[in-house]
Symmetry: C2
Amino acid sequence: MSIIHEPALFDAAAGRLKGEGVSRSTRTIRELPGVFAAEEERASLDPTLPVYEVEMHDRCGEVEGGLYFGVSHVHPGKVGNEFFMTKGHFHQKRDRGEYYWGIEGNGLLLLMDEARHSWAERVFPGSLHYIAGHVAHRLINTGDVKMIVGACWPSDAGHDYEAILNEGFSVRVVEQDGSPVLLEARS
Amino acid sequence: MSIIHEPALFDAAAGRLKGEGVSRSTRTIRELPGVFAAEEERASLDPTLPVYEVEMHDRCGEVEGGLYFGVSHVHPGKVGNEFFMTKGHFHQKRDRGEYYWGIEGNGLLLLMDEARHSWAERVFPGSLHYIAGHVAHRLINTGDVKMIVGACWPSDAGHDYEAILNEGFSVRVVEQDGSPVLLEARS
């Protein structure tokens, strides 16, 4: 019986995916207007500068009960004194959760509930993070090297970036005296 | 602001979980009646012999939209000429999918749809497997060392072991002349 199929590949050390169903997207400085407090500074940076990349494996499409598997690569860097980070999002289906796990580098997972209460978890190689439904999430690279984070989430979760673009998180993470500090965001 | 919480831990190389919400269970030879073709041989083995262990991280309970994260450790061994393996299951909510990824060791992921059509994927460090809904799945260690596999699945998926215990998979994986071979199971 010849019924053995080749699997996709997940390089768990480098955080790379390969195989059928894998796609890759990059977010450059150009694509992140309104995300950082220092918007003028952002607009003055090289627009092609990559801030983060996402690889994902999709074998089911957006169906109830399906899952996606992905890896985020957040580059080190700052806009003003604010660390490079992802746009951040709630799930469109608000009750959908997500798993993140730290693969490389150091940073924070910023979390915010619908009442705009924010908190964070340290992300490092070997950290594991359950993000409950109804909680917005953003990755922030507070280190000097790339921050790589694995992820698995329901394929029907969807992304609601709007809510975050309009109102932001209630906390920003900036560098002060060489260390990452959490500050209440001005609204 | 002191709002940084400690995450759980996932040792991605050793396949170990640690922290709040982590539990561990072991399946011994005693707990696997009817799973292997050579039932008499199974009953004659040391009943306390561990066949596989599962660690899981549960921070949400069995809710729609929630996820669990786990690691399976399948020991090397055989019952008769059939390799050590997990019980295997459909999800109780049949449309729920699951991700597996190979961490250590070598084996097969045996898959079977509801029409009892079976196939397999090779599992090795770096393999990534999407298990669609309505597909039963079983891990089989065909190697000489422990086979370790990461997993993420919807927390409301549930396990239906009954269907497999009653009817089995339509394929068994046995050793013939030192190599793993897939055989049609006698029903």
